[in-house]
Symmetry: C2
Subunit: 428 residues, 2 copies
Amino acid sequence: MRILIKRAAVIARPEEGLIPAADVVVEGRHFAGVLAPGEASGEFDKIIDGEGKLLAPGFVNAHTHLAMTLFRGFAEDLALQDWLEKKIWPAERKLTGEVVYWFALLGLVEMIRTGTTAFADMYFFMEEVGQAVEEAGLRALLSYGIIAPNPERIEPELKRAEGFAREWNGAADGRVRAALSPHAPYTCGPEVWREAVSVAKELRIPIHTHVSETKREVMEHRERYGKTPVQWLEELGVFAVPVLAAHCVWVDEKDIDILAAHNVSVVHCPSSNLKLASGIAPTWAMLQGGVSVAIGTDGAASNNTLDMVREMRLAAILAKAKAEDPRAMPAPEALKSATQRGAQALGWGKDLGVIEEGYVADCVLFDLGTVHFLPGHDPLADLVYTASGADVEMVMVGGEILMEGRELQTLDEEKIVARCRELTRKFR
Amino acid sequence: MRILIKRAAVIARPEEGLIPAADVVVEGRHFAGVLAPGEASGEFDKIIDGEGKLLAPGFVNAHTHLAMTLFRGFAEDLALQDWLEKKIWPAERKLTGEVVYWFALLGLVEMIRTGTTAFADMYFFMEEVGQAVEEAGLRALLSYGIIAPNPERIEPELKRAEGFAREWNGAADGRVRAALSPHAPYTCGPEVWREAVSVAKELRIPIHTHVSETKREVMEHRERYGKTPVQWLEELGVFAVPVLAAHCVWVDEKDIDILAAHNVSVVHCPSSNLKLASGIAPTWAMLQGGVSVAIGTDGAASNNTLDMVREMRLAAILAKAKAEDPRAMPAPEALKSATQRGAQALGWGKDLGVIEEGYVADCVLFDLGTVHFLPGHDPLADLVYTASGADVEMVMVGGEILMEGRELQTLDEEKIVARCRELTRKFR
């Protein structure tokens, strides 16, 4: 399959700014060239008109709990403990593989519609999530979330997580990879972490976890172990494998040095951190300190969307307030965190995240027809500060078109919506 | 004209939650009833199908600089002083009435498309803005921004502001009202403020200004006058007239008491405050302290949109982080600030902001067809935390339909876009 995206404005690498017009050639799974308009030659199986449109690398949602679309709007404006203990956890006990499968599909529809091409998901019933991802055509790093508050849960939980990882790593033609996910330092003890690291090393897969999300969690960890969660994880040897550390709201300078030294990918989830009143992560200090900061939506229960365009904008403006400097997190950096640094977090850093010959063809096309893109002094800034997920009109993953002209190509949206409505009635 | 909006889910008053299905009758400029489905009787000139849709009061953007759509993306990621002194102010010197007129129209298209029915605008060439508002059909509180750093500017500036107010207050069939706008305590001295108050009293119009936006501004004011801008304005007698105080990021407890005691409407502009690194306003503390807090986008140069749906969501989640309490600014309060409290700020508090018999018919209809509205456990929370401006499909102001089925009814979008493109080329 040879595809030509013709005369689009292109952001190939955020730090290099905008190419006002280019022809982008896709051959099979990869970009085969970014050429001056009219320079692409040969036969094409498909030509996509890019005039008046902006092509960007696909968004990478580096931390979410996909099937929590079921819980969107289910438990609003509550204190964190009530939210978890009275609403979310009891409801999660009622989950079934079937429910997770359909609400994962619902989340995948939402992600495609808002330009996400890859994501990292940690949850339960992950085989069903894997199946949904396989059908949808996205790229994903999937993991079973290990929660082992008491010793007898450790072995079965680890077994389940490891079993999933062994079965699904490399599935869906390589689009699905697996991670190991001890849920957090406060829900898993040293034994779980050590075993997870050993399996991760053997399978050469990353660890995806939650780190230092709330002030209380860090205080309690300090009281219990005499050190911060980041320092504790380092000493346990967890950072010997690639790690996605979601949140990192409450990290100090020493933590930042550790995260940078071990190439940990921090995943900033600004909406969720604000909505649950967890705080504001020092993303610009982390980036300045050499930490790779990706962006995630977290689950739809605490966001309440899976829209990375919205999340990128929030990450950009929130970083300025946190750093008390409007020059912090300029637009190209925010876009890089929402794309390339996400790809790196998921372990695809060498293969995707930019639009360049040889890279895997994951990209999204924005329709610049909405009035908010005028006057267009700086389309890259418009993409970060102005664009809406609803402006996305074409999505491609590995050369496969998942949406074109806002029509989904791989999923039956009507059927998914109907099934989710049915299951919602039952769930209530 | 008699219009029926049939079987829509309705939020009549945010604090009363959702009416799952109702028939809403509009007669002339007013709502004539919110009835059980099927109960509306008589002849209708028009029936709007509300099935699968959500009707809410129109959004009120209580602080913006409309024609700054011209400067969207023009000066990004700069320090505040560079932003103003090197980019925005020099560019504003090149403005003409023609440019302001067309970019005001562009902003009006954007506002209609994202559900705004009324707004407060302070800028220059306000006659042209008034003309644009008259054509668009929105409701607006308009004012010329007085900047008088040296004594000889005082009289001509005041004259201009007063002239505009006398001419335009009550124009466009009452849809346009005027305010007086000394720009801020740091750009206008006591003489300007006293004169503005006297004119405002005579014309019975409000004062719309910027208050305590940055830390530096408040520090300098303290150094110069020995008190905060809020305390200083109170002593000058400014709060004897209704006041819209934009920003109020840096207010202390005493300031909050003063604002509450004088019924000042604070206008929270979260995107702009984050993007310019001004800080985070204590909105929940103000609401708890009895201050009416409305929401505004500020100008498109520092937002970079005029989308109140986006701004409402940010106001809701940011308030929780600022208050360190996820229960702060629950969804109904955020919606109220984006609608009713905005109407009150603009001086229309008794006439609009709710959907109820006798109130002026300003309302918006959201299409719930986008997947992010599933599963729909709490449509009011979905509206605040999930919805996008792109979900708005019908907008009505005073019984007049400004957009239906996402088609603009009063403005020629194509012509406006073409003119703005032309003017942008010239401006560069």
